[in-house]
Symmetry: C2
Subunit: 360 residues, 2 copies
C-alpha cells in the first residue's frame, strides 16, 4: 500500500489513524456484531457514538452550553437556503460580505428569500484581499450578517472576527473549522460541510445559538427547519450515521493530538513553509495579500503556465496528488487541512525547489 | 468476529461481501493511493465509481433512457417537500394514498405547498390492508399521485401498481426498492432513502421521468430543485461520495448474484417461511391481510406480551438482533431486506418454534 499526499480541496485527505480504525471496525463495531453502517440510529450503540462525537466536538471548540450542535445533511449549499428561511425572523433584509465564490453562492441563494445588503466586497480586487471592517456598511435592520471566513477557491481568509454587535454573525466555516481555536460565542451560527476538515462528504455540522431557533418561515421544508431538526437532536429522519461516526473518529484523533491549540500551531507552520517557498522561488506566485492568506487552501501559479502539466505530472510521480488549481483560478492549489501531515508540505516544498531549478 | 443477524428496519444489514471490500479498500482504492472517502468528487477515479454505480442500477432495474437517476442527500423526508415543490407545475392539488405512517408524513409535508386529496386510506383498518384500486377517488386536476408501495412500520405492501393514466405516479420505495423486478416505466418518479435496501444512511436515490423536471416553484431551494440537481448530474454540490460508492458495491453484489429476478425469488421465499411460522404457531400473530403482507418488514406480536422481553433477550443470545417492533405497533418486527441471508430466516424460525414450545 502506498498512500499519497492528497491536496484535494474536498473531499480531502483524512488521518490514516481514522481510516485504519474505520477499516478494522467495518465488519463489527466493538461487540455489536455489526458495522456502524448497519446500526439503527435509535439503538444504544449508535446513540453512544453520536453523543460522544458531539461531546468531543464541544470539548474541542469549547462550545458554550447555549449553542445547539447539529449533524445534518445537504452541505453548505443547503445552508445557503436554510439560513434566510430560518433566521430572517420576519425581517426583510440580511447583510452579506462578498469575498469569493462561496460568498457569492450564499448571496445568490439568499436573494430568493430576502433583500441582500452586500456590506463589503473584495470583488474589485479579484478576491485577493479581505475588506477592512471599518469600511463595512452594516444595515441595523438586517436579520443577520453572513460571511465566509475562508474562501476555498481564492485561498483568502479573514484574520479577524467581525464584531456585529447585536446582529447575529453567521459564518460558513466549511474550509476552516477545527483548523485553530476560535471563540464560538462571537457567532450566532457556524456551519460547515464535513468534507474538508471534519470527515466524509454528506455530513454538515451546524452550531447555532439557541435563541436563533424557532422562527422559520412557513414555506420552510421540515428537513430545513432548525427547530424541527434541533428538537429531534438531528434525528428527525435517519441521519448520515456512518459519516457522523467517521467525524467522531476525527474529533477523537484531534483530542488525542493536543486539540485545536496544537493543530493550530501545526497548521500555521505548514502554511508558512509553503508560502515561504512560493515567495522565495521566482517561478511561483500567490496573489493574495499576505495578512489574508489562507492557512488551509494555498493557490499558486507558475510564471510560465506552459509548465503546469509537467509540474502536475512530476508531482504525481512523487506522490503529491490533486494539486491542480480550481478552473476559475488556474495554476495549482494545495489544500492542507488538519490531516495533511507536515511531511507532505516538506515533500511538496522540496519538489517545488527541484522543479524550479530544472526549469529556470 | 461474530456477525449477527440484524433485523433492523434501517439503517439495516449489508452484505458481508460489500463490507469486506469496503474494509479492504478503506485506506487505498485500487492504485489511487487514497480512500474513496478522500477523493475529489470531480476527479477521474470518483467519476468512474459514480458512473459505474448508476450504470449498474440502470441495468438492475432496466431503467428506461428517458429517466434521470440522481444520487442525493436528505432522505425520503426531504423528498416529501421536494415532490410538491417540483411537480405541482402550477397545479393546486395532488393526490395521496394513505396506507401508514410514511404516507401520513408525506401528506403532512405536502400540505405546506398544495391541497392534498387523499384518494384512498386504510387508516380505518388500522393500516392492515391496502385499499382496492377500484375505490380510489382520483382527481383529474391533480399534478401527481403519491403512494408508499411498502409501509415499513405496518409491514403492509401493495401487490399491484396503480394505473393512474396520464397523471404521474410517484412512489416512496425506500423499503422495497431492489427487492424484486418492477416496471419503472409505470412510474413518473421513484425515490428511496438508501439505508434500507441500498446502502448507508445519508444517500437518497431518485429515478424521475425527464419531462417532469423543470417546473419547480420559485421558493424552491437550489438543493431541492430537480432541474438544478439533474443538470449537474447530482454534483451541484459535493455529493455523499462514500455512500454512493457503497451503494455501487451493493448494486454489483446484486448483479453478481443473479439480479432482481433471483433476489425477488429469494425474498419471496424468505418472507413466506417467516409468515408460515407466524401463522402456524399459536403464540404469534400478524394482523395484515395475507395478500398485502410485506416481503421486507414482518411485524408480529406475541399473544402474551409479557413474554416480549424474554423473547428479545433469548433471540439476542442466538445472534438474532434488533427484533423489537416499532413503538407505535409494539411486539416484534423482522426487517428482511436483500442482505439478510436465508439462513437468518431459518435461524429465526427455528428459535420461534423453540420459544413457543417452551412457553406454551
Amino acid at each position: 500500500m502506498t498512500r499519497v499526499y492528497n491536496f484535494s480541496a474536498g473531499p480531502a485527505m483524512l488521518s490514516e489513524d481514522v481510516l485504519k480504525q474505520a477499516s478494522e471496525e467495518m465488519l463489527e463495531w466493538r461487540d455489536e456484531g455489526m458495522s456502524v453502517m448497519e446500526m439503527s440510529h435509535r439503538g444504544k450503540a449508535f446513540m453512544s457514538i453520536a453523543a460522544e462525537a458531539e461531546a468531543d466536538l464541544r470539548q474541542l471548540m469549547s462550545i458554550p452550553d447555549n449553542y445547539k450542535v447539529m449533524f445534518l445533511q445537504g452541505g453548505a449549499s443547503s445552508q445557503f437556503a436554510m439560513i434566510p428561511l430560518n433566521l430572517l425572523s420576519g425581517k426583510k433584509t440580511a447583510d452579506y460580505v462578498n469575498t469569493g465564490m462561496w460568498s457569492k453562492k450564499a448571496i445568490s441563494e439568499a436573494k430568493k428569500y430576502c433583500e441582500v445588503n452586500v456590506v463589503a466586497s473584495s470583488e474589485a480586487d479579484n478576491f485577493t484581499t479581505i475588506p477592512d471592517f471599518s469600511s463595512w456598511k452594516l444595515n441595523p435592520d438586517s436579520a443577520y450578517v453572513h460571511y465566509t471566513p475562508n474562501e476555498t477557491i481564492g485561498g483568502v481568509e479573514f484574520n479577524y472576527i467581525p464584531d456585529t454587535g447585536n446582529i447575529p454573525l453567521v459564518a460558513d466555516m466549511s474550509s476552516t473549522i477545527l483548523s485553530r481555536k476560535i471563540d464560538v460565542s462571537k457567532f450566532g451560527m457556524i456551519y460547515a460541510g464535513a468534507q474538508k476538515n471534519i470527515g466524509p462528504a454528506g455530513l454538515t455540522v451546524v452550531i447555532i445559538r439557541e435563541d436563533l431557533i424557532g422562527n422559520a418561515m412557513d414555506i420552510t421544508p421540515s428537513m430545513m427547519n432548525y427547530q424541527t431538526l434541533s428538537e429531534a437532536d438531528s434525528m428527525y429522519n435517519t441521519p448520515p450515521t456512518y459519516s457522523w461516526y467517521i467525524a467522531g473518529l476525527g474529533f477523537k484523533w484531534l483530542l488525542n493530538n493536543g486539540g485545536l491549540d496544537t493543530i493550530g500551531e501545526v497548521n500555521q507552520r505548514k502554511a508558512q513553509k509553503l508560502y515561504d517557498a512560493i515567495d522565495s522561488i521566482d517561478l511561483y506566485d500567490n496573489p493574495v495579500e499576505k495578512q489574508y492568506r489562507s492557512w488551509m487552501n494555498v493557490p499558486f501559479t507558475l510564471k510560465n503556465s506552459d509548465l503546469d502539466a509537467e509540474f502536475l505530472s512530476q508531482a504525481a510521480d512523487k506522490g503529491l496528488k490533486t494539486l491542480k488549481g480550481h478552473r476559475s483560478v488556474g495554476g495549482m492549489r494545495a489544500s492542507i487541512y488538519n490531516a495533511m501531515p507536515e511531511s507532505g508540505i516538506d515533500t511538496l516544498v522540496e519538489f517545488m525547489k527541484e522543479f524550479a531549478k530544472e526549469n529556470s
